[in-house]
Symmetry: C2
Subunit: 447 residues, 2 copies
């Protein structure tokens, strides 16, 4: 596309995005009317559609299109032994220090963010205890009594229930190694210091795949899934300047991991992980076998070898990827008339609203509503008859709507409407009866 | 369809369904390898697709097709004041009694289920305390300290965050009264006595709509939504013998409710509620306004009247409706050869797997895999080349797959495959290049 205008400006200050997200109903603080609750976010109408579109695409690419992947949807609360086996009860903690003066608590590795001590005016320095470990899992109690026997945890990651269900799913789905089990769902971590908008939250959504393979094939499958996942991030619009991989150094690896690569996106607050590809070895299945007393091994039908499969994991943050999509889409552009616009340039397949129907006058409500009703059968549509047409285009640009369809007084005569493209702002007349097909062709993904 | 066979037998014993669900991977106990956890269930590959199809259809009918409904996706954990305003902290409890002898705890209104006292062999009777109330919300702590200030609750229903977000969503989405806000998500209740498979669980999924209207229009919208929701349940296959409405008597109504109708399904364990349609009045918005100090009223643009909208709620249990779909689909049929089959007669649009590709011989893998890959772009497909064809049909009948496509040695010659219909078991030859279109036409919903 040739474009003579000045290059669009990308997002630099997170505040600009945070305020747009609240104002337009993408994402805002949970329980806003009560002053919010730190680390929890609600998705509004536009944000929910964006997130649902992202999840549906992941499910399509990772589960539905793959004969070798099964999807599950497990409970958030699992048997507590799950988290003993996984090591979370013992090890999933941050080092914390307390200030004896102001009674506040801080992460020992983030003391630079601690601020001044409110109890010691003569000194800015806190009176800190030695670090002690603070478990990040959220606890609750199940059943009628609040004793130790009834304690349960909200899952800290969606993958452990996959390991719990490995044997059942393999048998029920008649799968053979190599194959994977995937799920999308909520997880919870009691982050001491939630920050960077939705990036580090206490409640978040993950999409995880655990792919089980023979030990001799782990490198091959690691490479395969790394490549698949990078292709996915490129497909949703992340370019090479904003997407990179970062292999973990040997001293960063979890003790059970042989290899790990972070997929990072360049946010205004720096390069940050949005997905991890991990070779978890046989750690999880072996631990769950040990703690449950169940044999979680498999027998090779040809060689009769009995072995515990190795696991290649892909773990993507849905909220983090949504945040990257929002950052990536945001652009401020100078317009010919000297004004400027904010436009959210989502991939059409991920855009929350696919088309807006805009009658130039309220007198055109009848044909406009007829078109709206037709389009609504196929896609998410917004109808707007308020304000001048320029302002209505601006509103759709901010929502990231790829197409605006304007019904004007000529539409009744020539049977056509004007379709405006969000990015190029070019307009073309399209016959009314062909608009649904025109749009459907342009708002799907290449398959 | 004419059918000379004996009438199919419907599900009578829940155990038959529970075992099929575990064996085929619809639904099974969470953390099975650890002995399970009472009141928590995992959805396997078939159950996840069934549940996702149900949720997608609800979203399509209640949100996407409606210009007057907005969808949101809120955090499971909200500000604790939310649950004070809603009345849950004070009132959401069951009466409990303890046995002083065996130390067990029971619901005072379910003592018939209490069983014998294990500590008093000479007597079958428990030594019960007076009833006291036991709050059903699950509690946790947020932040670094476990004190009263940091207590939080897992939401007991998905609707309260909708009221929290009412003002923000109305303004962001530029909606005017009447309009609704909907969401699908997890909720948690510490049921003392989970039972009837997934029917009464501690973790469950709801799909709720809160529709806000002028006080003068509440009856009209109550009737509208009751009719819409009944239409939905009929659309997914529930007939008049297994679906009924039950209006609440005046003495059953919550103190704030003017009207309530349960939608009930006839399970093997009796008529039970799967959805409730409630006129909640202005209770929720008024309480949240009082507790937050925010004005949650609206001003009529014409009359300038300022008022708190009335709320009509539709609240459907996703797990309960899935269970009803499973019960409703189950049939045992006598076959001509004297054998019988279990067949899950799901509506094709809800069926977890739409088509199975079955090569008659492993030598036919190439054309069969080519067809599988083509179909997989449009629908969920299963490939099975193991066992005789009759056994493979039986497996697909149990999974509820509406169509089996058999590739045989004639397919290479005549370019056709045999498409078998799950319910009638009739077969027809269809040209290979037309199979995708043939199936797509039959596995969607009438729109």
């Amino acid at each position: 596309m040739s474009d003579e205008r000045a290059a669009p400006r990308r997002l630099e200050r997170m505040e600009d995005l945070v305020s747009l997200c609240a104002r337009r109903g993408f994402i805002f603080q949970s329980s806003e009317i009560y002053g919010g609750i730190n680390g929890f976010w609600d998705y509004g109408p536009l944000g929910t559609e964006l997130k649902n579109n992202l999840k549906a695409l992941w499910w399509q690419r990772v589960v539905r299109e793959r004969p070798d992947v099964e999807g599950i949807d497990s409970a958030i609360i699992a048997h507590p032994r799950t988290w003993e086996a996984s090591g979370h009860v013992e090890h999933f903690s941050d080092p914390m220090v307390d200030c004896r003066a102001c009674k506040k608590r801080f992460r020992a590795d983030q003391l630079a963010d601690a601020g001044k001590c409110s109890a010691r005016e003569g000194s800015s320095e806190h009176d800190l205890t030695e670090p002690r470990s603070f478990n990040l899992m959220l606890r609750t109690w199940i059943g009628a009594s609040e004793d130790a026997a009834a304690v349960a945890f909200l899952r800290a990651e969606t993958c452990q229930p996959i390991f719990n269900d490995f044997k059942r799913v393999r048998e029920a789905a008649r799968q053979k190694i190599p194959f994977g089990i995937a799920q999308i769902g909520k997880a919870f971590r009691n982050e001491i210091n939630p920050r960077n908008f939705t990036f580090r939250s206490r409640e978040f959504e993950q999409a995880e795949l655990e792919f089980f393979c023979h030990p001799s094939e782990r490198e091959r499958w690691f490479e395969h899934w790394l490549e698949q996942r990078l292709r996915f991030h490129r497909e949703i619009g992340f370019d090479d300047e904003h997407l990179r991989t970062r292999p973990h150094e040997a001293n960063e690896l979890a003790h059970y991991a042989r290899a790990a690569v972070d997929v990072e996106f360049l946010f205004p607050f720096g390069w940050q992980e949005i997905e991890g590809i991990h070779d978890r070895g046989d750690w999880d299945l072996s631990r769950h076998a040990e703690y449950s007393g169940k044999d979680l091994g498999v027998t090779d039908p040809e060689t009769k070898e009995h072995y515990v499969p190795m696991v290649i994991e892909t773990s993507v943050g849905i909220d983090r990827t949504c945040l990257a999509l929002l950052v990536n889409a945001w652009a401020e552009e100078a317009l010919e008339d000297g004004e400027s616009r904010i436009v959210m340039r989502f991939h059409p397949a991920l855009a929350p609203v696919k088309a807006a129907v805009l009658p130039l006058s309220k007198k055109l409500a009848e044909p406009a509503h007829a078109l709206e009703a037709e389009l609504r059968r196929y896609m998410n549509v917004f109808y707007d008859d308020a304000g001048n047409i320029g302002r209505r285009y601006r509103r759709q640009d901010e929502a990231g709507t790829p197409f605006c369809v304007t019904i004007d007084f000529e539409s009744a005569d020539d049977g056509k409407a004007t379709v405006r493209d969000r990015d190029s702002m070019s307009q073309q007349r399209v016959p009314l009866e062909g608009i649904a097909a025109f749009l459907r062709e342009r708002v799907g993904l290449a398959s």
